[in-house]
Amino acid sequence: MVTLYGREFWVRATGKPVYNEEQSIIGIRGVFQDIDENKNNEHNLQNSLDIIAAQNSRLFNFAHVVSHNLRSHSSNLSLVVQLLNETKIEKDKLELIDNIADISENLDVAISRLNNMVTHHDLMKKERQMVVFSDSLDLVINSISSLINRESAKIISDFKAMKEIEYIPEYLGSILLNLITNAIRYKQPGRKPIIFIQTYLVNDQPFMEISDNGMGIDLDQYGDKMFGMYKTFHSNPDAKGIGLFITKNQVETMGGSISVTSTVNIGTTFKIKF
């Protein structure tokens, strides 16, 4: 229903039929009850539930990654120990000891990466503030200027429709950084990367789109895994399979969502709903 001043609100209608002398219904008599507050509470509860379910599934994924990552090193270590017990040749033993050094280094890297991820989650406690898109983008471009120059990448931005947003500045920076470096890293060989960044509003809902002319990706094949942790689709040695996972995490932590469209050999577009 709508009030005199145009505010919409939820009502519950209860009524009884009104009969005339021939026992046919000629109307309904009853009341409208304002249930706007209850209904809003219900919506809020449902939203909290969705957020918690999403967080839960992220935690589950995280736990899986932790266990898998640590297990792969511990199992290598156990193999080395078994081999050390078996071999009698001095040279083999020395080689195996070298392996232990590698495993220990890998383990160290794995743990510090996991640690990074946890600190990323901690940033949540930071406060939202007004962030100007072009400032954030300038910072990012400065920090990766050597990559941009090396690849002769061109970045075009259009923030006219929405110049700023209330957000955690570090998150916006990290989202831009991840998506831009991805776009450059997965450029179409032989084509200079062009990245187009745009913000806009649809029914007051802010959006940002980042499009590139890169190699694209077959979403039918990889779509559902795209934002998972440690999923890499190219044998690019730089690929750690963690960037998009963090990006999705940050967008969702702020209550938004991210989606992707892509055509192989044409390019990829990421769309963020804030």
Partner: protein, 137 residues
């Protein structure tokens, strides 16, 4: 004993693990030769070439397949390998080897007929020997 496997194959992106298995095979003299691919796609391309050249002596008797790999993971490889495997006359034993202890992975692996067994890393030396022994022609 005496006899041993001619050609074994490892599909795994973990270099240290591959090195160690190579060492085990060397020390224990389990196989004459060893093929190594660092992801499913590399391995699949190899098998497709064999298929078109009909050189079955280049086919491994045993494959150890990892699950979590870049580019093409173990599941995708299985999905593709199923389609071409029946074109080979040679018996190939395929073992899925993973550090995942997720029971869902185990179920899923066993749902493939061509998977001989699901092995959880680390594999004990004795287990390796047994597997090679069992597959000697």
């Amino acid at each position: 004993m005496g006899q041993k496997i001619e050609l074994a194959c490892i599909i795994d992106d973990d270099k240290i693990y591959v090195n160690l298995v190579r060492k085990i095979i060397e020390i224990k003299k389990l196989s004459e030769n060893l093929l190594i691919f660092k992801n499913g796609l590399e391995a699949l391309e190899y098998f497709k070439v064999i298929l078109s050249n009909l050189t079955e002596d280049k086919l491994p008797e045993i494959i150890f397949l990892d699950l979590n790999m870049p580019v093409m993971d173990g599941w995708e490889f299985l999905g593709e390998f199923v389609k071409i495997k029946n074109n080979f006359d040679k018996k190939i034993s395929l073992y899925v080897v993973s550090s995942s202890i997720d029971p869902r992975d185990l179920e899923r692996a066993k749902s493939f007929n061509l998977v001989t067994d699901y092995l959880i890393k680390p594999i004990e030396l004795k287990k390796f020997e047994k597997i090679f022994d069992r597959n000697v022609a």
